[in-house]
């Protein structure tokens, strides 16, 4: 078990990523530009970092907020949604995302504000936390399970194992649910409309009939992709085809 713990710790440590040299200084410079109102320069600085693989919640939040200040709703929604995916409890990201969504030109009829249960669970916990909780409870449960047959001669230890297994089992089940919700949330491929105005079409072709005129900030789940077009399922359940070039995918490392 001790060796197993060491293995786990090593595995977690290996999955951590170290800050590249000079990143902290560049982040500070970008922040200084932002607070001085030089939003374009700050956005360029953040994008440069993003393109070099420096991607985390705070950076996405700042980038989305700067785009929001500049009125680029599509990119603001994209980066704020990415920030929120990284840290679903970020109140700032949620607040600014709501502002960005509120300023969109499009109003979706029949869009439901009620979130599915898994989405609510996913909004309470980060992916890393769910992963660690799942690993921890599984470790505890399996440890007690492995120990249980060896406690035949010791009644007190056997009771402890049995009770611990029950508790660990319940915790493990809950953490498994939370992790499943996070996996579900993370695996959903969402795309945001970046261009100011785009024709939503009924089929993946420039010649297809226009369904409606969509504006920046509209987003939906990616359902299908074909011939340079992406079929989005909007919040109200409506499906429409959009040019791939006009969309940004939430969580994608490439900075649009």
């Amino acid at each position: 078990m001790r060796a197993l713990s060491l293995l786990l710790v090593s595995a977690f440590a290996a999955s951590l990523h170290a800050a590249p040299a000079g990143v902290e200084r560049e982040l500070t410079e970008a922040e200084d530009l932002a607070v001085r109102g030089q939003h374009d320069a700050a956005i360029d600085a953040y994008r440069s970092l993003l393109e070099r693989g420096v991607d985390f919640t705070g950076l996405r939040y700042n980038l989305g907020t700067l785009y929001l200040e500049e009125g680029e709703l599509g990119r603001a929604v994209l980066h704020l949604k990415t920030a929120l995916r990284g840290d679903p409890r970020s109140d700032d990201a949620r607040y600014n995302l709501e502002r960005a969504l509120g300023e969109r030109a499009d109003e979706l009829e029949g869009a439901s504000r009620d979130l599915p249960a898994w989405s609510m669970v996913a909004s309470l916990i980060r992916s890393s936390e769910a992963s660690l909780a799942f690993a921890g409870t599984l470790l505890a449960f399996v440890f007690l399970l492995g120990l249980w047959p060896w406690t035949q001669q010791n009644t007190a230890l056997r009771r402890f194992c049995t009770g611990g297994m029950l508790l660990a089992g319940v915790a493990f089940a809950l953490s498994a649910l939370a992790l499943a919700a996070r996996v579900q949330a993370d695996s959903a491929t969402e795309a945001v409309l970046l261009d100011a105005e785009v024709h939503a079409r009924v089929a993946p072709s420039e010649d297809a009939a226009v369904s409606f005129l969509a504006h920046a900030g509209l987003f939906g789940d990616v359902v299908d992709e074909e011939a340079g077009f992406v079929r989005l399922r909007l919040e109200n359940g409506l499906d429409a085809w959009f040019p791939r070039a006009s969309l940004g995918v939430v969580g994608e490392a490439k900075a649009p």
């Binding site: 197993l4 595995a11 977690f12 700067l66 992916s127 449960f141 399970l145």
Partner: protein
């Protein structure tokens, strides 16, 4: 003060321009030399002496510590490489700082169709005068082909270093005042402060000038900016290309090279002394333009540093705020919607030590706003030969209510060293009009009923790369770790179960065997068969200790059990052992001397209790 005099016989001339750089130029120059040499030879005596020794010093009067140069030149006519005898001058009165071999030159001339050649070589000594007095460089001698060339002794006047100013050290005196009524040296370094006394933290200007009577090359590599203990220093300028100015001292024309200016800020009170600074002069002289080198030392200089007065000092005064300062504040926006921050810049400008200047704690004095941590910056410059500059503090201010937002006037207490009093610089108040955000949104402020709208929250400061593992579950390491955990746990569980099952099987066998023995003992009791009871006991012993005990007599069994007891691995208590042996003896005796029914019953009862004792695990 430093001084190097030039002897009359070795007056140097200003340097000629160096323009003969191309090969054609060099060839022309050589031709010119040959032609002019020929012309000179034609009018010169028919032949040069075989050997000629020349000794020259580039100073006749120096101060203790100064370094001067002595050139020893040997000229040979003919094809000889070395003179037959060469005695160098005695230099024991001086310290030889450096000794070099002068470049060797060879010259061939043709006079009236007759070719003759000469060779010149020599030595260069850098000598330091270590004690005051009339010091002598001894005569030198060279001999060649019966001709002897001898030089005269050279007397160098070595003087003690002059001491003037506070504590006997020079500090502020202008050279004109220092040398009034005295002989001015041909070269000297003038290091001078702009004041004799200063307060702690007050700016004092150090100027280093080199005075020469001729054009020289200055080697400033040894001239490091002074870093004396107890001072904060800022070099104002160290020019790489120095253009001299002209000045007349006691009727003599001097070229003045300003080599350095340093702003110095004393940090501690008391009399402070700055050590001498070294400057190396290089000049050319003679028809062959030999380079001559002299090292000049400045005099040590002193400064009396006074403490800041206690009278008039306020609690908010910071000891680094000495000088002349003004304070101003400005906002990046005159009008902005509620929720949007603006940049407030507070700048202190003036003369003094920017490094030590402490700006007022602005962020603590702003109310009704969210204030972000400030950043500071400095801009330094030189005005009228003194260190000036601005130190600024910028911070992001986000008003929390609509209306006229006022940034208060800030106070910067400082000490004016010219007046010797404490003063206060104040910034102007700054007003910013904060408009309510779009109506209908956001909560209403309770106190002034302003409508507070919703604007985006500002960017986060002090971002740092988190050690967040992100989607940890998606990593291979995580999955491998989980699989390993489950695998090991299940393995432990299965192995444990198997071990438990084996133990249960063993226990069941033992129970069955006990049951059989009880049944055998019961039948033996009914049939009054002591042998059967004895077999049951041996059977129990055999289960406990192995089949080897089955064939043992009671005597052998007693010895065997005793031996095991001694080794401590018996598991049968001594009383049980004794009881067993007694029972076996009694049973054996009963076979040959039948007992009464009551006695036999007692034996079977004993056998029953013995069986229980033997089956008990320790």
């Amino acid at each position: 003060m430093s001084e190097v005099s030039v002897p009359a016989e070795s007056v140097r001339v200003p340097r000629a321009p160096r323009s003969l750089t191309s090969s054609a130029g060099v060839a022309l120059a050589l031709l010119f030399v040959l032609v002019t040499s020929d012309a000179a030879r034609a009018q010169a005596p028919p032949s040069d002496p075989p050997v000629q020794l020349v000794v020259e010093a580039n100073a006749a009067s120096v101060q203790v510590g100064d370094v001067f140069q002595l050139d020893v030149t040997v000229s040979l006519s003919g094809n000889s490489a070395e003179p037959e005898e060469l005695v160098l001058p005695e230099l024991s009165d001086f310290e030889i700082v450096r000794q070099d071999r002068a470049p060797t030159s060879q010259r061939t001339v043709v006079v009236n169709g007759r070719m003759s050649s000469s060779r010149t070589f020599g030595f260069v000594f850098h000598l330091r005068a270590t004690t005051a007095g009339q010091k002598t460089i001894g005569p030198g001698r060279a001999r060649m082909s019966g001709h002897v060339s001898t030089t005269k002794p050279i007397v160098i006047d070595v003087r003690e270093r002059e001491k003037v100013g506070p504590g006997g050290l020079s500090s502020t005196l202008d050279p004109a005042a220092r040398f009034e009524g005295k002989q001015v040296p041909a070269h000297f370094v003038d290091a001078r402060l702009d004041r004799d006394e200063a307060y702690v933290g007050q700016q004092v200007l150090l100027t280093v000038d080199v005075y020469t009577t001729e054009y020289v090359d200055l080697d400033l590599r040894n001239l490091a900016p002074p870093k004396p203990a107890g001072f904060w220093t800022e070099v104002l300028d160290t020019p790489t290309r120095i253009r001299p100015t002209q000045r007349t001292l006691n009727g003599k024309n001097y070229l003045v090279y300003q080599v350095m200016r340093v702003a110095m800020f004393p940090l501690e009170e008391g009399e402070r002394v700055l050590e001498p600074m070294s400057v190396t002069l290089q000049s050319t002289r003679g028809s062959w333009r030999r380079r001559s080198e002299s090292q000049l030392l400045s005099d040590p200089i002193a400064l009396v540093v006074k403490p800041l007065p206690a009278v008039g000092r306020t609690a908010s005064f910071s000891s680094g705020n000495v000088g002349h300062w003004q304070l101003r504040a400005e906002a990046s926006e005159a009008e902005l919607p509620l929720g949007q921050p603006f940049t407030l810049k507070v700048t202190a400008g003036g003369e003094g030590n920017l490094q030590a200047l402490a700006l007022p704690p602005v962020e603590q004095q702003i109310t009704n706003a969210r204030v972000f941590p400030p950043t500071t910056s400095e801009v330094k410059g030189v005005q009228h030969g003194r260190l000036h500059g601005e130190k600024s503090l910028e911070l992001l201010v986000q008003p929390t209510r609509a209306g006229v937002f006022t940034v208060p006037s800030f106070s910067l207490p400082y000490f004016d060293p010219d007046d010797g009093t404490y003063k206060e610089a104040r910034s102007n108040p700054v007003t910013v009009r904060v408009k309510p955000a779009s109506a209908g949104e956001g909560p209403v402020a309770a106190r002034d009923s302003a409508r507070i709208g919703r604007s985006a929250r500002p960017v986060l400061r002090k971002l740092a790369m988190p050690s967040d593992t992100g989607q940890l579950y998606a990593s291979d390491a995580y999955r491998a770790g989980m699989a390993g955990v489950v695998g090991l746990g299940l393995l432990a569980f299965i192995v444990g179960l198997q071990r438990g099952r084996q133990r249960e099987t063993l226990d069941a066998h033992t129970r069955r065997r006990r049951k059989e023995r009880r049944r055998a003992l019961s039948q033996a009791r009914e049939q009054k068969d002591l042998s059967a009871a004895e077999r049951a006991l041996y059977d129990a012993l055999s289960d406990r200790f192995g089949d080897e005990v089955r064939g043992m007599s009671s005597t052998e069994l007693g010895a065997w059990l005793a031996q095991r007891s001694e080794r401590g691995n018996d598991g049968v208590s001594p009383s049980a052992q004794k009881q067993l042996l007694t029972w076996l003896e009694a049973a054996h005796a009963a076979r040959y001397a039948p007992r009464t029914g009551a006695d036999k019953k007692s034996l079977f009862d004993d056998a029953d209790s013995l069986l229980t004792a033997l089956e008990e695990r320790p």
